[in-house]
Symmetry: C2
Subunit: 219 residues, 2 copies
DNA sequence: CTAATATGTTAGATTTATCTAACAATTATA
DNA sequence: TATAATTGTTAGATAAATCTAACATATTAG
């Protein structure tokens, strides 16, 4: 059984690896978790003896297959929890991450199985991220960034990335949510702002900071 | 902020104190928590510096007012969780204690406030124990043990005490649950077994082991 | 009332997860 | 390529929560 600390390292390794083809540096982990490098270094040695991480001095860190699976199962619990909090407890999508960060460590397969069942076996979390299955398999659909779409296209919001509290609250104010269909009216040539329209909002200008964080699918 | 370990000691102190007019011994705590006496001893010193426990060498342990309140608030979270698991997630009353033992330590006032709201501000948990209010105030209604009732009386099951898994499963088999009304048909003079009747059960014999663990109110 | 038993305390060790300081290797820059 | 900056490692310290062994006090029984 992994400790709470070990679980957080596994999750961080998994998340950071996704951004850098499977390889993570001690420094990345250190900054991501706000834990000093020597601490990370010794934890990596420990996870290596547990066959969860592959580590050699001065080389990039990699999760083993076992490590990947265990990490994915924690992410599964995190995302199921977020979905449960939004769907069954009426929390806003900007409120659930902190709570899920704690509940993901609860040791009770029955508890998460029940959430899964009550939610009808959801495939995505409230931010559009895929929920890994019971074997730790996770599939990202092929979404496109809103910033990469062309004028005139009709798109549907599928996921948000870099889901900070402030960003989600901004989206709430603009009434932008998953599933929302919007039309791209034009793209400002100067700064690449995207001008869109959607129900109750005839014209909204979204800066690149925003449009790069919105993943969409074509309608 | 108290650690998980500290919270479990506070809760144990509160629970054991209820059985012994506010005083708890190091030995009681040690056995209850399955933690050796020297460990308990040093934790009591720590909780004393935090003004949660009143401790003097060789004297019984007592929670301070602050300690009592903090303990009651953890018990509040435990019981709200149990109620939520039974009412909203369809767990059996014998399944919820272990999960609540973990969730009671979640740091999120909003999470428990939401449970409370969704449950309609319940006063008791699934075993009939009172849920302390937001100020840590808890009131036990004046129930009587089934074993103390007289022949011919009509009673309603109000709470169960010493709620072990096996006992709750036994009650499930006998279809005995909170709110059930039963009539005391007779009391066996030899061993004080109570013979009762209730819907679908014309005659059930309950041993003292059982009838002493069932709290009832008169109908 | 003494002796045995039970309960409580002190001292010191261990495990886990963290840190700082010092040093070493790698990578980037001039 | 030599030097500087960044990244990584080692060594040793610290805090929390636990333990065992030894000793001290209190309670119980004869
Ligand atoms: Mn999250
Ligand atoms: Mn976490
Ligand atoms: Mn319980
Ligand atoms: Mn607990």
């Amino acid at each position: 059984m992994n400790s709470l600390a070990e679980e957080n390292y596994l999750k961080a390794l998994f998340t950071l690896a996704a951004k850098n083809n499977g390889e993570v540096s001690v420094n990345d982990l250190s900054r991501h978790l706000d834990i000093k490098m020597p601490t990370v270094n010794s934890m990596m040695k420990k996870l290596t003896t547990k066959k969860l991480v592959y580590y050699e001095s001065y080389k990039p860190l990699k999760l083993t297959e076992k490590g990947k699976k265990e990490a994915a199962l924690i992410i599964r619990k995190h995302r199921l929890t977020e979905m449960y909090l939004v769907e069954k407890m009426n929390f806003g999508w900007e409120q659930v991450h902190e709570i899920a960060e704690q509940i993901e460590h609860i040791k009770s397969p029955e508890f998460f199985a029940k959430m899964d069942e009550l939610l009808g076996y959801p495939q995505i979390d409230p931010h559009g991220s895929p929920i890994p299955d019971k074997n730790g398999k996770m599939i990202w659909k092929e979404y496109k960034k809103l910033s990469e779409c062309t004028k005139g296209s009709l798109v549907k919001i599928a996921a948000v990335i870099n889901t900070s509290n402030d960003f989600l609250k901004f989206l709430n104010e603009k009434e932008i949510h998953l599933g929302l269909k919007m039309k791209i009216k034009s793209i400002e040539p100067f700064d690449k702002s995207v001008i869109v329209s959607y129900p109750k909002h005839a014209s909204e200008t979204l800066s690149p900071t925003v449009s790069e964080r919105l993943l969409v699918e074509k309608v």
